[in-house]
């Protein structure tokens, strides 16, 4: 018997202290105050939150510690902070500010041993590795860094396995082909990736309808599903989504 619930995770992309949402990593629109949104999601039954500072990585700007402190003081569910974590000290600042986990993306590609060091110092449970990958015309999933701007010559499956071996506690995989389309998650690839990992896998990219979440859990076998715009614009209220998933026989926290 296993009663561990599938997790629903709203993602807040942060730029200059505001929540924003882009489509396929471009055309960025304003989507509100992050602390207000975080509180609303928490009250609606979100299981966890992810804050990604999308400007941090390519503009070399550190995440606003203040924002993390405000969120930690306000909400009573776990949250992950990512964007521009490139050394142990960045992680330490975020942990002290109240983050439960950090998410590392580009910095892990530039310096893979960062993940070993983060896991040793803070524990694997603190380290989420985020991977952006695109299905190329040659049929392989290629990893990109800097918010999907730069292909790095790594293949998704091998890279996710390496990150697990180095001490990642979770993998957050975004399919760049699916992100922003609202046509569903990359379920077949999710399922395949999950089989190759012994750590939890968070599905990201493509949520548009409640059925898409159900598919990510049943077909994709994901441990958690992440989405942004369907929650920001209230296309799918979280209580409605959870009621739907429960009706499908999927174990969710209610």
């Amino acid at each position: 018997m296993n009663n561990l619930a599938k997790r629903i995770i709203p993602c807040l992309d942060i730029r200059d202290g505001r929540t924003v949402k882009g489509i396929n990593f471009v055309d960025i629109r304003d989507a509100g105050d992050p602390v207000e949104l975080a509180q609303r999601y928490s009250q609606q039954g979100a299981d966890e939150l992810v804050f990604l500072d999308i400007t941090a990585s390519h503009e070399k700007r550190k995440l606003l510690k203040e924002l993390v402190e405000k969120v930690a003081a306000t909400i009573s569910i776990p949250f992950t902070v990512g964007g521009g974590v490139s050394e142990l000290e960045d992680a330490d600042v975020l942990l002290s500010a109240g983050a439960d986990k950090i998410s590392v993306n580009s910095a892990a590609i530039l310096n893979p041993s960062l993940i070993d060091h983060l896991a040793q110092q803070f524990g694997s449970q603190f380290v989420v590795v985020a991977i952006d990958a695109r299905l190329e015309e040659n049929g392989t999933w290629q990893v990109y860094r800097n918010g999907g701007r730069i292909p790095v010559g790594l293949e998704l499956f091998a890279w996710a396995r390496e990150m697990q071996e180095r001490g990642a506690g979770e993998i957050l995989w975004t399919s760049m082909n699916h992100d922003g389309t609202q046509h569903g998650f990359a379920n077949e690839t999710l399922s395949e990736l999950g089989k190759q990992l012994s750590i939890p896998l968070i599905a990201s990219g493509g949520a548009g309808k409640p059925e898409h979440f159900a598919d990510a859990f049943t077909v994709g076998n994901a441990d958690a599903a992440l989405a942004a715009s369907v929650f920001h614009y209230d296309t799918i209220p979280i209580p409605v989504l959870k009621a739907y998933l429960a009706k499908q026989g999927i174990n969710v926290r209610r």
Partner: protein
């Protein structure tokens, strides 16, 4: 009422402190023995590795202090595991408040056990019947098996102790400070215990 969070190298002190602040509960964060002994409620948080954390506690004689406390004490996560008699993590002798060995999950599921799981067979006074079946947030790779001191059970391939209680010592494997409204209710129950 004076509530104290024991200050040591645990990773979740800030989160526990934030949760108490949200409950409107003034509290101190200290490793001063006198202040801890004179508190009405003591919270022993914990996120980290068992052997290094036990060594840290011993160095500061906090291990003896915690065992001798007579007011209600709440251990959280690693705090609960350290209140048991031994942890398989780093083969570490622990405080022995609960005569239970902490062992690693050997189940056909992903490790760590991370996320929201439900509480079953909950016992007073930390839990009331409204908490039966409710979900709380866990992150751990080691667990305390079911025992006479078990105050709530969760299932992850096997049933394990989600909470323990013996005399004035209470402990949760999950994080009440990260478990939304249900967690806040459990913290409030602890703070409101009749002594």
């Amino acid at each position: 009422m004076k509530t104290t969070i024991i200050k040591y190298n645990a990773g979740n002190i800030k989160s526990v402190s934030n949760a108490l602040t949200r409950l409107g509960m003034q509290h101190a964060i200290t490793d001063n023995p006198e202040e801890i002994r004179s508190s009405d409620r003591v919270i022993f948080p914990g996120v980290g590795e068992a052997s290094t954390t036990m060594a840290y506690l011993k160095e500061r004689k906090l291990d003896i202090l915690i065992k001798e406390l007579t007011q209600p004490v709440l251990g959280i996560c690693l705090g609960m595991q350290l209140m048991c008699n031994h942890s398989e993590e780093g083969d570490t002798p622990c405080l022995g408040i609960f005569d239970i060995p902490v062992v690693k999950f050997r189940v056909d599921h992903k490790i760590p056990h991370m996320g929201w799981n439900s509480l079953e067979q909950v016992k007073n006074p930390l839990f009331d019947s409204s908490i039966e079946g409710k979900y709380v947030y866990f992150v751990h790779s080691y667990y305390a098996p079911a025992a006479p001191e078990t105050a709530a059970i969760s299932h992850y391939g096997i049933p394990f102790s989600a909470a323990l209680q013996k005399d004035n010592f209470f402990a949760t494997q999950f994080h009440p400070e990260k478990s939304g409204d249900v967690g806040e209710k459990i913290l409030r129950n602890f703070l409101n215990l009749q002594t």
